[in-house]
Every structure is written in C-alpha cells, then in structure tokens.
C-alpha cells in the first residue's frame, strides 16, 4: 500500500539556523517566486501535498531568526494556479480569528485549485497572540505550572473545535445543486437548498449561510498536528487527518492505539482519522554531510533544534528504510519537515521520491486531482440535504 507524502514548509526551513546556510535564499522568505519554485518542484516529484506553516505575530526582540511570514492561505492561493495536482494545506489559527472568514477563504481556495484545498487547524497558545487582536487576555501556556497547562490548552482547543464545526457547517450550508439558473421562474438559486447554520456556543454564534457556494470537495480535508493526548482528542472530534510526532516505531504504535481509543470515545461522525507521521529531516545523499549539517545548524542558531518530531539525519535510503519500517504500523502517510529548505528539498524531490517509488511506498503518478480522493475520503453530502420527497 502506498503512502501519502507531504512536505511541510516553514520559513527557510524548520531549523531556526537554516537561513544562515541559505546563501542567496536567505533574503527570500517573503519572495513569491521562492514559494512558487518549491511548489512546482514538489509537484514535479509527485508529492501529495504541501503544508504552509503560520502563526500570529512574530516573537518579539529576536534579531537572528526568520521573522517574516506571508499569510499562508494567500500563499497557497498564489501557488494554486501554478500547480494542478498537489494538495495545499495552509495553516489557520482557530482562536481570535473569525470562522466565517476562514470558511469562505478555504472554500474559495478549493474552487481556485479545482478541489485541492485542505486546511490545517492550530491554536494560539500565547498571551502575545491575544494582544495582537486586543479583544481578550491570552496566556502563555508553556509558562504555566504543569497542573494548569492542560486546562488552559483544553479551553483553546474547545474554541478550535467550535471554529472547525462552523467551517464544516458553512461548507455544508449550500447543498449541491443550489444554483439552478431557472430562467422560467427568474431564480438563480433554489433557496430551499441554502441553510442557516445557527451555530451557538460560549465562543460565538454564527448565522450563515456561507457567501460561497459548496466547495468542489464538499468538505476540504481538515488536518491537525498533535503531540499530546488533549490535542489528539480535539483531532478525534474535528479532523480528517492527524499528524503525530513519534520518536520511534514503538511510540508510533502507542500513538496509533491512543488515536483509535479516543476516536471510539467521541461521536465523531467522520471516517476514521488518516494518520501521518511528522519527521524533521536533514537528508543528504551523503549521510555524514547530513549529520554535519545538522550540527552546524545547531551551532549557528542560538539554541539547538527543539523538535517535537523525530529529527532524522541521513541519506535518502536510510530515510526510506525508516518510512518503510513505520508504514507497517498502519500509517496513511508521512509529513516531512525539511530542516533547511536549500539543502533538503532537492534531495527529497530528486532522490527520496524515486526511492520511495521503487519500494512501492509512493505511487508512480498522480491518479486523481481531488485531494479527498487521494486520502480515500468519499465526498460527503451536505448534512442539510433534505430527504427526497415521497410522491
């Protein structure tokens, strides 16, 4: 069984020191052509999807890390017309922002890309993120005493679950076939196929319908990155795809079991979660070079790479071995985080992808353009679809 292979993009690389070795690319974190080049290369290699990282604001006071970042949804929209098959997962932050704006943006990305939009949902666990909007007080989750951390995170995740539920309801708020263009009665739409969503919770109340018709995929896939059970519980409730961060195969097996338990415990109403493993990679044709580069980056950055995901340093064959080993636990795919774009992406596209193909881990060519199809997710009907009238 082949795997989905995604490429997760974060600035000039996931290592905070990556820009120091980026040469002429060091200036390009906000250059649209830089992102277009990477997207086209990833598609040429037949990768399944690209993830675009995002966050609220930049950390204050720093001068030695990449702090510029273009809006992820708009970056995905920009590369969409330059590609035709690769999936696009921009990150959105589900606290502070308006779910109505997010819903219409992702639906529109789905139209622009002809059914290749996904969305990765995350929370904003800092006080600084709240100050950017100034509407309420936030808290630095990481600085809380351990006993309070989980409760604070759970509150953010509760809002995220509602935010995601609103996205899904708004995507369903137009049934398929709502646009009728009926000249005889002068009606552009059948208004009976448009629905208020009437969502109400402690966080917000949203009326609907969406201003955007039903997206081509019906429900663009929602992905969540989890490195804690409370986040996995959120994914079990709200997501189609989950990225996990095991250090080894044994931990992967535990995480998968945990996911299935948490899924069973909630009223999910969605197909089973597709599980992908995140791996941060320093990959080079020469294993020693890959290791040396990681060490050099750790020296150049103020702090060594602090990664929730396993940091792999080695050559494409070794990485293929690792992926093949982990695949047997029941993974749907892997999401690769290049620690240095300049050094790792070409190796991934030119050497890793062909090797994965040789081992039957990556399919030969794109079989479909619809992102849901790629993950074996059927296209759902709108939950508001009225049963057919009995005549």
């Amino acid at each position: 069984m082949t795997l989905q292979v995604e490429l997760a993009l974060n600035g000039l690389g996931w290592h905070p020191g990556a820009w120091r070795l980026a040469g002429p690319d060091a200036h390009r974190a906000s250059d649209p052509r830089y992102w277009a080049e990477i997207a086209v290369a990833a598609e040429s290699a037949g990768l399944d999807a690209i993830g675009f990282e995002d966050s609220i604001g930049a950390p204050s006071a720093t001068t030695n890390t990449v702090i510029d970042r273009l809006d992820a949804v708009l970056l995905a929209s920009f590369v969409a017309p330059k590609t035709s098959h690769i999936g696009l997962f921009p990150t959105i932050i589900a606290n502070h922002h308006e779910p109505f704006h997010h819903a219409k943006a992702i639906a529109t990305l789905d139209f622009i890309s002809h059914g290749r939009a996904g969305v990765r949902v995350r929370v904003a666990p800092t006080a600084a993120a709240a100050e950017v909007f100034g509407r309420r007080t936030g808290v630095d989750i990481a600085k809380l005493p351990a006993a309070e951390r989980e409760a604070a995170l759970a509150a953010l995740l509760d809002e995220a679950a509602d935010h995601t539920e609103v996205l899904r309801r708004l995507w369903d708020s137009w049934e398929d076939g709502a646009e009728i263009r009926d000249v005889s009665t002068g009606r552009f739409i059948d208004r009976n196929k448009l629905h208020y969503i009437d969502f109400e919770s402690r966080w917000f109340s949203i009326k609907g319908p969406s201003i955007v018709p039903r997206p081509p995929q019906g429900q663009p896939p929602v992905s969540v990155l989890s490195h804690q059970p409370v986040i996995t519980a959120f994914a079990a409730l709200s997501a189609d795809l989950i990225y996990v961060t095991p250090d080894d195969r044994a931990e992967l097996a535990e995480l998968i079991a945990e996911i299935r338990e948490l899924e069973a415990a909630v009223d999910r109403g969605l197909p089973p979660l597709r599980i992908l493993a995140d791996i941060a990679v320093s990959v080079d044709p020469n294993t020693d070079v890959a290791s040396a580069r990681l060490s050099e980056l750790n020296k150049l950055a103020a702090d060594p790479l602090d990664s929730d995901a396993l940091v792999f340093a080695g050559n494409p064959t070794e990485l293929t071995d690792l992926i093949e080993d982990w695949r047997s636990e029941g993974l749907a795919g892997v999401r690769l985080r290049p620690i240095s774009n300049r050094h790792n992406i070409t190796t991934i596209t030119n050497q890793l992808a062909p090797q994965l193909r040789e081992r039957g881990l990556l399919r030969d060519a794109y079989a479909e353009t619809i992102l849901r199809d790629r993950y074996g997710l059927a296209r759902p009907r709108s939950r508001y679809t009225q049963p057919a009238e009995v005549v």
């Binding site: 820009w19 120091r20 070795l21 040469g23 060091a26 200036h27 906000s30 649209p32 277009a36 609220i56 604001g57 930049a58 204050s60 720093t62 001068t63 030695n64 890390t65 990449v66 702090i67 510029d68 273009l70 809006d71 708009l74 929209s77 920009f78 590369v79 969409a80 017309p81 502070h96 308006e98 109505f100 704006h101 219409k104 943006a105 639906a107 529109t108 990305l109 139209f111 622009i112 600084a128 100050e131 950017v132 509407r135 646009e179 263009r181 000249v183 009665t185 002068g186 552009f188 739409i189 059948d190 448009l194 966080w203 949203i206 009326k207 609907g208 319908p209 201003i211 955007v212 018709p213």
Partner: protein, 455 residues
C-alpha cells in the same frame, strides 16, 4: 502643448445585483476561477489600471427569505486576488474589504501579503457595514453604532498604516555571516491604543513594493465623503448624469486643500455601465434589450418592493402599479442592501402617474426606470464622452461594470480602448509596475489625515 488629462479604467467583476444578467446564454459561472481569470486577463490586455472585486458578508434577504432572483454566491476577496496575482503581471488588484467585521492585524497582513505577491498592485476599497444583520455572521454581532462607523474605520486604517510601516526599508538584512536577520529588535514592532483598538505585537511582512495598498472609499454620505477626502487615494462613486458628476467631483476636490492635499492626490472614479454598438442607434437597441434582460417580471416586483416597503408578491408584473401607498415606516422588507429612496410617497405617485400616462405595466416601467446605462453609443461616441468627462472634471476615470460574466468588457476593450488611445488619453503600454504608478499617485505616506479618528 499640454498633454490631455489621462483616463483611468477599472474592470469590475459582475456582482450580485440585477445589473448582472445571468440568464443570457453567454453568461458563465460567477464562482469558477476561470471567470475571474478571463476578465482579469482581458482587462490586462486592454491596459486597464485595475481589476475590482466587491464583497458582501451576508446573503441578501427580502421578505425574510434569501433573495434568489439575482446572482447569489461569490468568492472570498483576498483569496481570489492572491490567485489572480499569479496569472497577471501589471493589472492592479482592488478588493472591497469590510472594516467593521475584521481586525486591523489580519487585514493589514493580508493586504501586505497581496502587495508582495503581486509586486505592488494591491488596492483596498474600505467599506463599513455595521448592520446587525451582517453582524450575525461574526463574533461581535452588531456591536458598532451606525454613527461611529467612519470614526471606527478611520482608526482601523490608522492601525493598519502603522503595521505597514513597521518594517523600515532595508531592515531585512539577512546577514548570514553576522547572524543579523533584521537590523534591530524593533523591526516589525507595533503598538496602538485608541477608542476602538488596543493592540500590540510584531508584524510579519516586510515593507512591500507600494508600502501601503491604494485606498478607495465608496460611501456617499457626508461622513463617507469626509473619510474619502482624508484617507482615500480614489473615490468609487455611483454613476450620475454629467452635471451632477461634475458637482460631485468638485465637492470632493474642494475638501482636499483645507486638508493639505493636492487635487490630483485623490481620483474620482464613477462606477459606470457601457453599451457599445456598431452605431449609436444599434447601441441604443442593445441597451434596451439588456435592460429588459435585467428586469424580469419577478425582478420588477422586487424592485418595486424596495420603494413600497411592502410584500407585493400578489401583483402581476404585466399589470398596473399598486393603488396602495408605500409603507413609510421602518424598513421591513429587505436586508443587506442599500436603501435609495428619500421620499417614497412622492416617488410612488410620480411613477403611478407616468405609468398611467404611457400605459406601462409594472415591468415596463421598471425596465424604463431601472438604471439606464451611463454610456451608450458607438465606440467613437463613447470614447468622446469618456474623454470629455475627464477633460471637464466630471471624473478622473471609470470603473466599468459589465452585465455579462466574463466577456462583458470585450467589446469595450476591443473597440473603445483603441479610440481612447488614438485620442491620446489612454496608455498604449504599461509604463509603471505598481498600481500607484498606473494611477499616477504620489508614494504612500505622502499625506497623513489628522483628527478624523478619536484618540
């Protein structure tokens, strides 16, 4: 010899009112990306200054039901413009974005991103809509009193401007040898405390090619005009007959000197409809046919309801006007649409009298009274009129609103643009690279409003 004043042109994507004819066989999708690409690329072929996309944040309703006679459904503004940046090179990309149901950080970041993605072609039509009806789709509901909407919008733009200038030019040093990614720790930092916003943080987009997007304003009230004169680079106003257009033009330009702005700093751009024909008579016939397409029987009743403020669904569009008077109490019939009638009783009486006199049905009357196209004629006639409007200070340019998606401006681009070029009032190539260049505007930050927002 002084060069003539140049005509500026914008291409408005057909929107969700009855100007857009969706029933014509030539009418294509209002949501598929291809329609936006085709109109944008046609406009670029015609050397237009910009493409324009409107926005609405709640589906319109009439009689408590979603309005279904006109186009319903539209894309997210920012997303489409970012994608159009990818398939165009010179064309400005202006979108309506609401300043009431958004936060300055988001909007500033999205426009900065769009300006970077497009190489300096972004523009923002700043609108307010504090009605609780629209607010039902957002966190804060109808939180803003109507009379504060421009004060709020002014402060919103002030915050956005601080964000756009938070990265000084050349502050992204990316010095790989010293480790200085930015020139100092204050790069990107912002802090703003005002009546409506209290925000602080670090902005993530370096200085963009235009530094700030071009700002448009479209509201017609006195407050709207004041806001436009203080903050706008251009005013997107409604179409008017020539003398009234000249009056409006003067009313805005006269506001500028007292603010310390020069007359050419703010462009007046009426939204207009154009019908091009082989001859003036041919165009007149086409125009009449289009108006009949725009006003179906059900649409005629709906348009009547906008004045009558009553449910008129029982009336026959091919029959006479209602005997009963309009309901002049609080509007109960329609939501999500601007109200136009200041004296409904007088207008209704006049319509009734006129219809009786000419023996017109409801539909026939509405076809006649529905917005007559602004410019109707052969390509030469139209070019002459557009030229005259600009030379006689009725406009600095025009935002063209076609009735067909996406080919509705093809005739204009193929036939009228060459005439304008021959007259020496329209560009024959793009000479600048940013939207500011095309519109001949001074650089951003050239002028700063004072006193409009409340501290």
């Amino acid at each position: 010899m002084t060069a003539k004043r140049q005509v500026h042109l914008g291409a408005h994507f057909p929107g969700v009112n009855n100007t857009t004819v969706w029933s014509d066989p030539a009418s294509a999708s209002q949501i598929e990306f291809e329609s936006f690409v085709q109109l944008a690329q046609a406009a670029e072929r015609g050397y237009f200054d910009f493409f324009f996309l409107a926005e609405g944040l709640r589906l319109r309703e009439q009689r408590g039901q979603i309005h279904d006679l006109d186009v319903v459904g539209r894309p997210d503004t920012f997303t489409v413009l970012a994608a159009l940046a990818s398939v165009t090179e010179h064309l400005g990309l202006i979108g309506t974005i609401n300043a009431t149901y958004n936060e300055p950080y988001d909007v500033a970041r999205q426009f900065a991103t769009l300006d970077v993605l497009s190489g300096g072609r972004a523009g923002w039509n700043v609108v307010t809509s504090p009605d609780p009806f629209t607010g039902e789709n957002f966190r804060r509901g109808g939180y803003l009193p109507r009379e504060q909407r421009y004060e709020h919008a002014a402060e919103f733009v002030d915050v956005a401007r601080q964000l756009w200038s938070s990265w000084p030019a050349d502050s992204l040093t990316a010095d790989t040898s010293t480790g200085a990614y930015v020139s100092d720790s204050s790069v990107g930092e912002f802090e703003f405390t005002g009546k409506h916003h209290a925000v602080r943080g670090r902005f993530t987009v370096p200085q963009t090619p235009q530094v700030e997007p071009v700002l448009l304003q479209a509201g017609d009230s006195d407050d709207g005009r004041d806001f436009g004169a203080a903050y706008g680079d251009a005013i997107f106003t409604r179409g008017r007959p020539l003398p009234q257009a000249q009056e409006f033009y003067a009313s805005i330009k006269d506001r500028l000197a007292p603010l310390g702005r020069s007359s050419d700093d703010v462009l007046i751009l009426p939204g207009v409809t154009v019908v091009v024909g082989d001859s003036d008579d041919d165009a007149a016939e086409k125009a009449a046919y289009i108006r009949s397409q725009q006003v179906s029987g059900p649409t005629a009743i709906r348009l009547l309801e906008l004045l009558w403020n009553r449910d008129l669904s029982a009336y026959d569009p091919d029959g006479p006007l209602p005997e009963i008077d309009p309901d002049t109490s609080e509007n109960t019939i329609f939501q999500g649409q601007v109200k136009h009638y200041t004296d409904p009783l007088a207008t209704a009486a006049e319509w009734r009298q006129y219809a009786e006199q000419k023996n017109l049905s409801i539909r026939e009357l509405m076809i006649e009274r529905a917005s007559r196209q602004t410019f109707i004629g052969s390509a030469q006639t139209i070019a002459e009129q557009l030229d005259t409007w600009v030379q006689t200070r009725a406009a600095d340019g025009f935002i063209l609103v076609p009735h067909l998606t996406p080919g509705g401006l093809d005739d204009f681009i193929d036939q009228v643009v060459p005439e304008l070029q021959n007259r020496g009032v329209f560009r024959t190539e793009y000479t600048g690279s940013t939207l500011r260049d095309h519109l001949d505007l001074p650089p951003a930050g050239h002028y700063r409003a004072e006193g409009l927002a409340t501290r």
